[in-house]
């Protein structure tokens, strides 16, 4: 028997790591991966609460969050576009509105 708060703390740690990665990383692909990490932390909280309140809706919602995560992966197409024009993956150097 593991207390529910332990699962929530684990989800919270993953979320915090995701936000930290979003703030401190300069490579755009790593920033996207931090977003995926945040979504994973949220998924864990959903499943943990579903287990506690015996409501399967929590697990169903995980599917929708996964769909959103797959769409964030589609943002990679935008990254490829940016790379083709700016020749860099560093967010600090994409700072001109016109090339």
């Amino acid at each position: 028997m593991v207390p529910l708060s332990y699962y929530l703390i684990l989800g919270g740690i993953l979320f915090a790591c995701g936000v930290t990665g979003f703030l401190i990383k300069r490579n755009i692909i790593t920033i996207f991966m931090s977003i995926e990490l945040m979504l994973n932390g949220v998924n864990l909280s959903f499943v943990a609460f579903a287990a506690q309140w015996h409501a399967l809706q929590g697990q169903v919602f995980v599917f929708f969050v996964m769909v959103v995560a797959a769409e964030a992966a589609v943002g990679l197409a935008i990254i490829i576009s940016v790379y083709r024009t700016r020749e860099t993956l560093n967010v600090d150097q994409v700072n001109l509105l016109k090339l």
Partner: protein
């Protein structure tokens, strides 16, 4: 207290957090991507501990097996190199890491003191595919259809954005 459930939760929780921290610490994006795959794998085991077997399988198939493959593919395609240490990144490290630590400790303290939640047994809520499918296609049919249209729009956008611009011969 030291049941199999707790030991497994602890082992895979530590692997999760280690992978997440490794994602932050590594400078090359391919290492970060592989650490994220490790995080997703250990999260799948955590879902199994909570009884959500179908969600665990979908986590491995979709997240670790498709989305992260896409990330690795883009890193290989664009030949991403190591991150450099610029002035902006040093400032971000100095401000961001303590800020997030503070914020997460605050949230953890609030959760632990005011949660009012009990303990969860191993395999607490079995999530068989049948029950999940029933819910998904009866109660959640509208969100399901809307998300599929959303994904379709995203796919079309990606195809248009990633296509090479056509050369116009005059």
């Amino acid at each position: 207290m030291l049941s199999v459930h707790f030991v497994l939760f602890l082992i895979f929780g530590v692997v999760c957090v280690a992978g997440a921290v490794n994602l932050l610490v590594q400078r090359h994006p391919i290492n970060s991507a592989l650490s994220l795959v490790v995080v997703m794998g250990s999260l799948a085991v955590e879902y199994l501990l909570l009884g959500a077997e179908f969600v665990a399988a979908v986590q491995v198939i979709v997240y670790a097996g498709a989305i992260m493959v896409l990330f690795v593919f883009v890193i290989m395609l664009l030949n991403a190199g190591e991150e450099e240490r610029t002035q902006g990144s040093r400032v971000a490290w100095l401000l961001g890491v303590p800020g997030m630590l503070l914020g997460s400790i605050l949230i953890a303290w609030v959760v632990l003191n005011h949660s009012g939640t009990g303990a969860v047994a191993i395999g607490a809520l079995p999530g068989p595919p049948k029950a999940l499918g029933w819910l998904l296609f009866h109660d959640f049919l509208l969100p399901f259809e809307v998300t599929s249209i959303l994904v379709l729009i995203a796919i079309m956008g990606a195809v248009v954005l990633a296509a090479r611009p056509e050369k116009r011969e005059s």
